[in-house]
């Protein structure tokens, strides 16, 4: 399927239009939910860290440090990708699945247009911008942590110095390597479930659920493998 989506490309002008549409649908429209979730989860991470660092001998800056590490290493790339498997993944599966059920994919084929290139390729390209979503999630989650700690009475300077403490740029690279792999999984697994589905409207719903389950499982397994390879 992936190989075929790169074959027999449509005209560049049309591809461009489709890619911009997918960037809007998959990336831009995901920003609000990512921002809201990141803000509150960042806050929760900071509160829970603070709860476990109640000893007066431990510096308050450790809260900022732990929040940053949790957000960059795991929360933003992995947790957010699983949420996106629900939002973006089910959107991709249901939109392609509906086209399958209503014979729109057959119509493309009959016209001599490669449906995989028309439908899947723009999604793969649009999700190359997915690291932007994760960057937004990282910043907003850390800001959420900062706001939560401000309410809890933790000095802002301590939290900020914690964020800057022992910063290792390799951790950010690791996060982005994961993100790019997850973006590819988010574009292809739901597309596969939508494109190769059979049946009617009920099966579109089933395919969306199945696509979410498989995308999440694959993300978690790939996360484990990548973490083993890059961090262990």
């Amino acid at each position: 399927m992936i190989k075929m989506s790169f074959f027999k490309p449509s005209k560049w002008k049309i591809q461009q239009k489709l890619i911009f549409k997918e960037i809007n649908d998959l990336i831009i429209e995901s920003i609000p939910i990512v921002a809201i979730l990141s803000f509150f989860i960042g806050g929760v991470v900071a509160i829970q860290t603070a709860l476990n660092l109640s000893s007066p001998f431990l510096s308050k800056s450790l809260i900022g440090f732990a929040t940053r590490q949790s957000v960059i290493l795991e929360f933003a790339p992995t947790f957010m990708s699983i949420i996106m498997a629900g939002k973006v993944g089910s959107y991709i599966t249901s939109s392609i699945g509906t086209m399958r059920v209503t014979e729109q994919i057959d119509a493309l084929e009959v016209m001599g247009i490669n449906p995989l290139n028309y439908l899947v390729f723009p999604k793969i390209i649009a999700l190359l911008f997915y690291p932007f979503v994760i960057t937004v999630a990282m910043f907003i989650a850390i800001f959420g942590g900062f706001v939560a700690m401000s309410f809890a009475g933790v000095p802002g300077e301590a939290f900020i110095s914690g964020i800057q403490m022992d910063f290792d740029p390799y951790h950010v690279s690791y996060a982005y390597i994961k993100t790019i792999l997850f973006a590819f999984i988010l574009a292809t697994v739901p597309s596969y479930h939508g494109y190769y589905m059979n049946g009617g409207a009920l099966e579109v719903g089933k395919a969306s659920t199945l696509s979410f389950v498989w995308t999440s499982i694959i993300i978690i397994i790939v996360n484990f493998i990548i973490t083993q390879l890059l961090l262990s």
Partner: protein, 250 residues
């Protein structure tokens, strides 16, 4: 003209099409009829190139499908128009955008030329007032007209219709049938229609093939079909109470 020679197609060991040979004539409305599960859709998909027959040959104006490479098959597909059972219009596009779509995707024409061509066929199917509406905003009959307009906008040599009047009321169904027949004559194309609607058979069946369990059981015209002594076909044609009563007066 499309000629099929002894084609067979099976799925998972079950023979769906069993050695059918026939010709679909140019400028005529050719109908494939038969009960559900008789192999009509598989045969149509073989003609469209969506299924590859296991054996046999399909000749499109004398050119065999077996001798075509991939690019020739793509070119052939661009000479085909298809009206799907459910219209298969793109939901997010307006009527005119749906009609313009094949021209935008497959030709190098300028946008104003494309628009002009699309408007011409929209006018032909009498949908000028619905040009900017979305498929969800128009009736089933109008959706079928858009599907016909989209199918003919590339000036195809072959037009395929899969049960074009399913889900339509009898009056609209006749209008759609007549429209397909008129377009077939006007554009001088080879039209193949998959149908089990007896009104269509009687109205526009200039050439009819009747399938039973994947085999060609009968071949003829709408004039001959009502007087046939073929038992399977008679059972099929006169399956409704109304037609049984009509038969008494024939």
């Amino acid at each position: 003209m499309i000629e099929i020679k002894n084609i067979e197609k099976s799925f998972e060991g079950i023979n769906i099409i069993k050695g059918i040979s026939t010709t679909f004539e140019k400028g005529k409305t050719n109908l494939i009829i038969g009960q559900s599960g008789s192999g009509k859709t598989v045969l149509l998909k073989c003609l469209l190139g969506l299924h590859q027959p296991d054996s046999g040959e399909i000749l499109y104006d004398g050119i065999s499908n077996l001798k075509m490479n991939e690019s020739e098959k793509t070119l052939l597909r661009r000479q085909m128009g298809m009206v799907f059972q459910g219209s298969a219009l793109f939901d997010s596009m307006s009527v005119i955008e749906n009609v313009m779509f094949p021209l935008i995707m497959l030709t190098k024409l300028q946008e104003d030329e494309i628009r002009e061509k699309a408007l011409k066929v929209i006018e032909r199917v009498e949908l000028t007032k619905a040009t900017d509406k979305l498929p969800a905003e128009i009736s089933g009959g109008m959706q079928k007209r858009v599907a016909i307009a989209r199918a003919i906008v590339m000036n195809p040599k072959y037009l395929f219709c899969d049960e074009p009047n399913s889900g339509l009321d009898p009056k609209t169904a006749i209008v759609i049938d007549k429209l397909i027949q008129e377009i077939t004559k006007e554009y001088n194309i080879t039209t193949v229609i998959n149908s089990h609607d007896m009104n269509s058979v009687i109205e526009i069946g200039e050439k009819i093939i009747f399938l039973v369990s994947g085999e060609k059981n009968w071949e003829g015209t709408n004039k001959k079909i009502l007087k046939t002594d073929n038992q399977s076909l008679t059972n099929f044609v006169y399956s409704s109470e109304l037609l049984k009563k009509v038969k008494k007066y024939l």
